[in-house]
Amino acid sequence: MHGRQKKERTAEEEVAKEKERCKKVAAYQYAMGLIFSKRGKKELDEELLKITQQVLASNPDISTLWNIRKEVLSVMKETDFTNFLDVVLQKELDFTEFCLKINPKSYGAWHHRTWLMKETNFSKVTSELKLCAKYLEYDDRNFHCWDYRRYLVENCSEVTLEQEFDFTTEKISSNFSNFSSWHLRSKILPKLPRDFLEEELELIRNAVFTDPKDQSAWFYHRWLLRSQLPAENPYLIAAQYSDTKLSLIFSSKSPIPSQSGVKVIDTDKIIGNLKWTNPWSNTCSKLWECQLPEANKNISIKADSSVMRNFGSVDLSLKHGDLKRNFPKYFDAETERKNDKFLSLLKEEISWVQELQEMEPDVKWPICTLIMLMRMVDFVKYKENILNHLDKLMKLDSQRINYYLDLRSKYLIEWKLVECSSLPGLDETVLDLSGLNLTALYYPERMCFQTKINLSNNALKNCEPFRALVNCKELNVSGNNLAKTKLESTIEGLKNLKIEL
């Protein structure tokens, strides 16, 4: 039960109420008995419509009664289609509307309308669209109504994409805080055959300057800019062949290599039936490993050019003991280099968001947005600004401090890792990530060629990322919140590892 306030009643009122309720219960039980007995006798007639109507009118959530109406209506449609279309349909629509007035979120009533439309080949779609407009006037967040409206639009040719787009503009302009409209816009925009970016940014600016605390337009802004970035298709960034084990590292989470067309070849023959695994038994992972059937001297990895783009050839040959890597100097589509046009647009975004942030220093959304924008423009150059902004967020929005701490850890690790060498072979220098107040260990797969890692004096609490440190020989994790037994059991598979705890 939602939104039903508890009422304090006097004893007298309580008695009267109880009496009324007893009557209602008796009426309900009598009607339900009648309905089920008629249904049992297959008396699918107008009387059954009438009784179910009486019950549904006070409780439109009884889905079985809607089903029974559908059964009766199907019979009527069969017997006299013209009458069904001209008379019955309208009556039924009127009745469901009556129910929606009682409960605008009744699943049963909305689905009944959907069913009626399908049964009559969307004959009343124009007036139905009007009804939707009316209900969205009452409550512009009623997702049942939005869903029904979308169903109509998808099944008729009355509303063009542009009109649909205009509808969301109208809704947003009357209430910027209408997340439902922003949502619909995100669905339409990619289908529009024109450039809309500047226009959209203008609309967002209007919205957030009107109410910078409202998260709707900010979420949309984030999506809009990110949607301009290239899709993150995983590609190979490192491969290691040692003992009989082959390890592959991808730029982003990749499905099992055999599924993404990666072949392992031993002198012209594809090695079949390789059993790929990853440390977390996930279906997608950045790190994949497999045991080769025998210690072959030379193998090669073959995949299509998009997967192999970082190695400049569709073939990567590996000798036993080889480790080849080419880590990019970025981590995701956000931090990847952009073209000049997009860069200058992003810089304009930074300037107005900054202006708003200075006007409203206590609102977190401009700060969240600035962090994203700065990362997109130049995540290394803006390091200090980003850290300052994260500090502000942690103070302003302490409820989510653990989220910000994880985010901060992720960025700190990125900045550290861009400095690391990308030379082939194991990295014997110490990767020093100590004393950074790290709460999470992001990108462990990019650390997997480090033999010495110093993570001491942080606030790490989760052992899972350590599974990826497959070449690590010396690991310093003293001064963290890691449980010793948990850590030891988690990284059991890592051999010859010296842990300082």
């Binding site: 409780n59 689905h111 997340f179 989220y403 260990l441 990322p465």
Partner: protein
Amino acid sequence: MAASLSTDIILPNAPPDLLLPKHAGFLSKYGTAKDDYDYCMTEFLRMSGMYWGLTALQLMDRLDSVPKEDVVAFVQDCFHEGTGGFSPAKDHDPHLLYSLSAIQILAMYDEFKAVDCSKVVEFVQSLQQPDGSFFGDKYGEVDIRFSFCAVATLALMKKLDAIDTRKAADFILSCQNFDGGFGSKPGSESHAGLIYCAVGTLSILKEIDRIDGDALGWWLCERQLKSGGFNGRPEKLPDVCYSWWVLASLTILGRGDWIDQKALIKFILSCQDVSTGGFADRPGDVADPFHTLFGLGALSILGYEDETTVKLKKINPVFCMSQEVIDSLGIEVQILPGGGAC
């Protein structure tokens, strides 16, 4: 009485302690007066109502306060031999929503033998569509909730191989939106309850790592309001049931600590009805078994304990059932590792 703001509420001062005996009394009394008005008006969802109440009692270790034989007989009474589905109450129509509740109840009591489970499997199987989605019943409504019901029902009976699980997961992903969340069907707005269904389904299917935990986790932790409670969508009011939908989802994503747990506990405790027992959606509203389960469920995830009460049993974040039951069935769900391991 809670004062209303436009998008949040102000909590009454000090929340009461967790009143477990009152809640147990509220739930075991529920349904003893068959002619009670509220009881009759909720007949159309009785099977789920039973599951909410019984699970809540089990979390409090009071399942024995309801006679098991009566419950099992009721479930059997609602089983449709013809279709293999369960209805919410006798004479009502079978539906996936109530089939999951029925199977959850039978699982709690280790009573799968009470019905012909192979027919239940056929029922679920018959409702899968070519795009991987599920109809709720033969009338053709599609909703991500029904995907969850179908997959969870089969998983409890160890019969996931009866459906096309890859397609079921693909359909879930087709409901994902610009904000990382999920709606009821492709194109529908994100909503915390439906995100729970999406995340839960993917977790059972061991495909939860196909989604970006950081992006969705952030949207979910943004559901927490100053009052400590969660809303289900941006710019909406908090409600106890979202404590469950959001917190359980974050837990499955390995990011349960991204919220202010203390503030959430305070909000949940404030929604107790100190006179009748039970939890309401918000302080001062009428309590019901639905919000009672989800309030207790969230407290169980949070490991809530105080000096005066017995500890709640551990709850499984995917099935919303006592972890003991899930363990005894030997079912494992996929939880994202978190901590940077994605």
